[in-house]
């Protein structure tokens, strides 16, 4: 296992690449689903206000 993580002395470069790639992909997904949720919530509360006004 230690040998695997050592990556033949290239640990920093290999894990630096795979790690950042993973962070980027996950971060984009998290940001998007958050945007989606807050958007739906905002539109819904706007709609409630409209209904109350009617």
């Amino acid at each position: 296992m230690a040998v695997f993580f050592h990556m033949g002395g290239y640990a920093l470069y290999v894990w630096g690449s795979y790690g950042v790639m993973a962070v980027l992909l996950v971060a984009e997904l998290v940001l998007l689903s958050r945007r989606n949720k807050s958007l739906v919530a905002r539109l819904r509360s706007l709609r409630e206000m409209e209904k109350d006004a009617e």
Partner: protein, 251 residues
Amino acid sequence: MAINWFKYASPATFYPLAGRMLPWFVWTTVVLMAVGVYMGLFLAPTDYKQGEAYRIMFIHVPAAWMSMWLYVVMAVYAAIGLIYKTRLSSMMAAATAPTGALFAFAALWTGAFWGRPMWGAWWVWDARLTSELILLFLYLGVMALRSAIDEPGRADRASGLLALVGVVNVPIIYFSVKWWNTLHQGASLKFSGSAMAPSMLWPMLVLTFAFWSYSFVTILLRVRCEILERERHADWVIDLLDNGPSGNRGR
């Protein structure tokens, strides 16, 4: 019988369709990603010349390919949006740009992490890296122009036109950078372009499709946000908000 494609070009039809497609792409992405990373990190043998560092190529090359492919996809959507004035196409173009920029950035980052042990420098003015950097600038330009314009119709058409201008220029930029590069430092620095063993080719291909599938996920998610934002006064959105979501986890 001809399918009426324009039916799917209506945001009201596409929004739930995208919602139904999303889980499929999510699972495809997860599976391909796991298989590809497993093949790349465990199954592929150590390269005799580059050692373990060449495993970076398995994500670097697919990211670079995706960044270029998504630019073409964005330009095609932009062209359709400009010609047929289909709003959905323009929204798809808008939704594609950030993911493309993300892959361009990832390609640069992993390129630097590969170059440091192989070339001895984080950054080398290699023709491909330089072109990738310029591609990132082109993405940022399209995104910045879009966000600078408040009126959605103008934003669609202006950034679409810019994407088309960019796609005409990309080959010119690539060849001029390549020429500049060979003039200035010769062809001494090169990716090892020798025939690749299948055990090395497969992880690259699998991860390319994983990234592609991932792009579907983010683009569909983003286009759903775009649709909701722009169509919020449409009857079908109001209906969706009132009656609870069918494709949303919201409630």
